[in-house]
């Protein structure tokens, strides 16, 4: 305790007050540490579950991003239509990725199916992939913590809109 602190007084009243504070402090410390132990475990577990869900969801969207890249490589003529959609999916991957996570999981590289030679068929396949991705995000949001559920619902909604644009929207 600092020498210049306000509790430096030597009167009995001050000493008693200080004693009461110490006693109270000890009580609080005990209460804190016991609550903290269970609380910290629960919180840490919830944080781990959220991070795992974020990572899975980011991988789901990252797989979709690869399919965009595959279609763009095969059909460069679709670049003008597809680039805004691809950009949105890339932003979604970033938003879903857990804050401290670094490299994307390399496992999904093999998952990209062959791209149809016909551009129309390739876009319809991409629309199906968007819809499937949206369904997976929708299933995931049911058990997600509130803020992540909101993000997943938004990303799923964007995917449904993309599926519409890829099938009917471009005809307008």
């Amino acid at each position: 305790m600092g020498r210049t602190g306000p509790a430096r007084g030597t009167s009995r009243g001050a000493a008693t007050r200080r004693g009461a504070l110490i006693a109270l402090g000890a009580g609080l410390l005990t209460a804190c540490s016991s609550a903290d132990t269970s609380g910290r475990d629960g919180t840490a577990e919830a944080a781990r579950a959220e991070e795992a869900l974020r990572r899975r969801s980011a991988n789901t969207s990252r797989e979709l991003l690869r399919q965009y890249d595959a279609v763009l490589a095969r059909h460069p003529g679709e670049r003008a239509r597809l680039t805004p959609l691809r950009t949105a999916v890339a932003r979604q991957v970033t938003a879903l990725t857990p804050p401290r996570s670094t490299a994307p999981s390399p496992s999904a590289t093999a998952g990209t199916a062959a791209v149809a030679a016909d551009p129309g068929r390739a876009l319809r396949a991409l629309a199906a992939a968007e819809r499937d991705t949206a369904d997976r995000h929708t299933a995931a949001l049911v058990d997600a913590p509130p803020e992540l559920a909101r993000l997943l619902a938004s990303v799923a909604a964007a995917g449904a809109a993309h599926a519409y644009l890829l099938t009917e929207g471009f005809g307008r």
Binding site: P84, L141, A149, R150, S154, A161, L165, G169
Partner: protein
């Protein structure tokens, strides 16, 4: 469920009332070619409004009726501005349902996510393009 769910459902109901009113204006101004689309959206919002009124009631709240009239965000003299109004209505609807997803659980959360999805698809129809995060103003 929580008071948060009731608050979010109440806000969503208010937005659906406004959307029903707004689509009345859209329907009066939009080109014949897109009138059926506007009418379908109008019906969809009426159905969502009625479902939300029941939800607010089930959550222990008192569902509010629509206002007599709503201020439009801009003048709607023609079909192009009617399409813009429809887009704004869907964007606002998407935002309240995104918040309802966050505030709710279980069946209500799933329903809110479905409503957000429908709003995002209709917004894309009107706009002709998508957005990366429908309903999330902070990421717009």
């Amino acid at each position: 469920m929580s008071t948060g769910a009731l608050q979010a459902a109440t806000a969503a109901l208010a937005a659906e009332h406004a959307a029903v009113y707004g689509y009345g204006v859209v329907g009066g101004r939009i080109d014949a070619a897109r009138r059926a689309e506007a009418a379908a959206a109008h019906d969809a919002h009426r159905a969502r409004r009625d479902a939300l009124a029941r939800t607010v009631h089930d959550l222990g709240g008192k569902p509010r009726a629509a206002e007599a009239a709503y201020a439009l965000p801009f003048a709607v003299p023609d079909s192009a501005s009617a399409v813009r109004l429809a887009t704004v209505l869907e964007d606002r609807i998407a935002a309240v349902y995104a918040d309802l997803v966050r505030a709710s659980r279980g069946a209500l959360r799933r329903e809110a996510a479905g409503a957000l999805r429908d709003a995002a698809v209709r917004a894309a129809r009107w706009r002709g393009t998508g957005v990366a995060f429908p309903g999330l103003a902070e990421r717009a």
